[in-house]
């Protein structure tokens, strides 16, 4: 019987420039998440989902893709868009749900997406993205192009039916898809051992007829190495892989959640000591690639960039209310045009506290 592989220790060699880029992006994401959680507490944004503690898994896995590859994310991969060059201000505008949001305030905060970087929105329904990602990968095969598709999920998503049907399709059709599971030990209040009785997430791939690999998801080099190898195999026509990144959700599930009800703070403390950013910095400094002085400088620069972008994003007005009738269909049918007129005939409803 085949079992899932576990990669530990000796990660593949990664070029120093790339290592530094990964580090900078991870730190930017941490800075952004911290600021946005503060803004949420101040009531300046309604909802936020951070990926604190999971930056290595998010950034290093996405960095293993080519720009033309597609990302079908789960909850914690919004930051991959920034790595792929999406500008910070419209990214933030999505969270504010204002007129600067490319997606017009339609989606729940933290569900950013843009075709410009081949990244779709995460589905609010857990798991739905997985069969879609498989389909996108099958399409690449049918069209004969070299695109690879990354299909992300949390540990909790592996209980969804969509996970199982997607895995089965991937095993049967062998399209160029790489499943990346961020096993952060929790799905809201449910710990992973109550989510599945399998010995790992990676092992599930074996039953579907392809390889599952488990890596230390807090080790950026290891994540990059494992996902890069899987992406290369997929691009070479050697089929799908499931990469399980073992990491930890340091914060609450989202700004709506209070984990103290169900989670022992001592467990969080253990994982704080395995912080992916701290570990990475120590390693970079030890390797002579980075210094504490440079780190200080970078942190200041990132904080400045993030604050500036927030200030700019926050200035944007609400999306005009009539826009809510656009994009339901390719053009609004008569009944939507009528309903639009009906709505515009009455005063605009104002949320409490909003300026007139």
């Amino acid at each position: 019987m085949r079992t899932a592989k576990s990669i530990e220790g000796a990660p593949p060699r990664v070029a120093p420039e790339l290592l530094l880029r990964l580090y900078r992006e991870m730190l930017r994401l941490r800075t952004l998440d911290e600021r946005m959680m503060t803004l949420q507490r101040q009531g300046r944004v309604g909802f936020y989902g951070a990926c604190t503690g999971q930056e290595a898994s998010t950034i290093a896995s996405a960095a293993a893709l080519e720009p033309g590859d597609w990302i079908f994310p789960a909850l914690r991969e919004g930051g991959a868009m920034l790595l792929r060059g999406f500008p910070l201000v419209p990214y933030l505008c999505q969270i504010f749900g204002n007129a600067g949001d490319e997606t017009k305030g339609r989606q729940m905060p933290s569900h950013m997406a843009s075709k410009s970087v081949n990244q779709v929105s995460w589905s609010s329904c857990i798991g739905s993205q997985l069969p879609q990602a498989v389909g996108a990968a099958m399409a690449a095969r049918i069209k004969g192009d070299k695109t690879v598709v990354a299909a992300y999920m949390g540990d909790g998503a592996t209980s969804s039916a969509d996970f199982h049907v997607a895995m089965n399709f991937a095993g049967v059709f062998k399209p160029p898809v790489v499943f990346v599971c961020q096993n952060n030990h929790w799905a809201i209040s449910i710990p992973t051992q109550k989510q599945t009785a399998s010995e790992s997430i990676a092992v599930k791939a074996v039953a579907y007829g392809f390889e599952g690999i488990k890596v230390d998801g807090n080790d950026a080099e290891a994540v990059y190495g494992a996902v890069k190898a899987a992406v290369d195999r997929a691009r070479a026509g050697q089929g799908p892989t499931l990469v399980e990144c073992e990491t930890y959700r340091i914060g609450a599930h989202s700004s709506s959640d209070d984990p103290t009800r169900y989670r022992d703070e001592r467990e969080v403390e253990i994982w704080r000591k395995r912080d992916p950013i701290e570990a990475f910095r120590t390693r970079l400094v030890a390797a002579g690639l980075w210094t504490e002085a440079k780190d200080e400088e970078l942190r200041e620069k990132l904080a400045g960039e993030v604050n500036e972008a927030i200030a700019e994003a926050e200035k944007k007005p609400d999306p005009p209310r009539e826009t809510l009738f656009e994009d339901v269909y390719s053009s609004p049918p008569w009944f939507l045009r009528e309903e639009r007129e009906e709505m515009l005939a009455v005063p605009k409803a104002r949320r409490p506290g909003a300026a007139q």
Partner: protein, 325 residues
């Protein structure tokens, strides 16, 4: 008499039934240790234990399928689907299996179960987390459908749903969870299939459900103050069976009907009531029946867009004023 929130009334209703009947069990995602993502189920795990209160993996088909299997063999499960939007994930179990089992087995198998879910707008959670899908459930023969608007009705209708021999879909409204109301102490059991007249007027009848009930009441106050229009407001409460007796009576008294519904316009429950009233009360009507609904759009997330998409008090007032004047 105690003042309870709508949210606390959910836990109170479940607790009342679990304490009364050992066969009542409760399953769903994050309902135990976390007390529900909307804090509607606080204390139930502690009180009734993990044998009867089960936190499950993220498997809606299995939650509903398991509830069905358990109901077939003698338990009375309450299953929670965290957001009503996720009905789409387990619709096979609900629409093809649960709804039709009594019929297809010629009554040999009953499914006394309740599916509770958080429905509706108000959290700025967007198109996949904020829908009002009561009309989906209404369209399937075999399901009873309830959607309370007050803490008292939550507790009483939940108890009635648990005791009912048929599957009941119980729509709680997210936007109402923090609202408060008086709930008498002691056992409360309401009756399914009954509407409530929550404001008696003379000129027009407004029929509303769930979060649209308080909005309609506010609109009625404004119509009285600003236009001298006296409105009756009926809280439908139960879509299946529908209390047409109460609705027809109230429409006959005023000769005018307005329905206020949160679901998108096409095939909303208002259309069903409008057609029934047109058939049964045609000669009592003094003007056209008017439906006030969310437009036929997926619900957007941004505050301003969400607030303007669903019927506003202004839109209700304006529509009644224009047509009744």
């Amino acid at each position: 008499m105690a003042e309870l929130t709508y949210r606390d009334a959910v836990a109170a209703g479940i607790a009342q039934e679990m304490a009364r009947d050992e066969s009542v069990v409760f399953l769903g995602e994050d309902i135990g240790a976390a007390g529900g993502v909307f804090k509607t189920t606080l204390g139930l795990l502690e009180r009734f234990g993990p044998r009867r209160v089960r936190d499950t993996p993220i498997s809606e088909q299995a939650i509903i399928g398991a509830a069905m299997g358990a109901a077939m063999t003698g338990l009375r499960p309450i299953a929670e689907i965290m957001f009503s939007d996720f009905f789409a994930v387990c619709w096979d179990m609900i629409a093809n299996e649960i709804a039709k089992t009594r019929y297809m087995t010629a009554g040999q198998i009953a499914l006394p179960l309740v599916i509770r879910t958080a429905n509706g707008y108000g959290s700025r959670f967007g198109a996949q987390h904020s829908q009002s899908v009561e009309n989906w459930a209404m369209a399937i023969p075999g399901l009873k459908v309830v959607a309370p608007s007050t803490p008292l009705d939550v507790k009483g209708l939940l108890a009635a749903a648990v005791r009912d021999p048929d599957p009941v879909i119980f729509f709680e409204h997210k936007g109402l969870y923090s609202t408060k109301g008086e709930v008498p102490d002691g056992e409360i059991v309401d009756r399914l299939g009954t509407a409530k007249v929550v404001r008696q007027g003379e000129d027009v009848t407004i029929v509303a459900l769930a979060a649209m009930v308080p909005k309609s009441l506010q609109a009625a106050e404004r119509l009285a103050a600003e236009d001298g229009i006296s409105a009756t407001v009926v809280d439908v409460r139960s879509l299946v069976p529908l209390d047409t007796k109460t609705i027809f009576e109230e429409v006959r008294k005023t000769g005018r009907l307005y329905t206020v519904e949160e679901n998108p316009r096409l095939c909303g429950w208002g259309a069903e009531i409008a057609s029934l009233v047109a058939e049964e009360c045609f000669y009592d009507l003094d003007g056209p029946i008017v439906r006030i609904t969310t437009p036929h759009v997926p619900l957007p997330a941004a505050d301003l867009l969400e607030d303007n998409a669903v019927p506003t008090v202004d839109r209700i007032v304006e529509t009644v004023r224009r047509n009744a004047g």
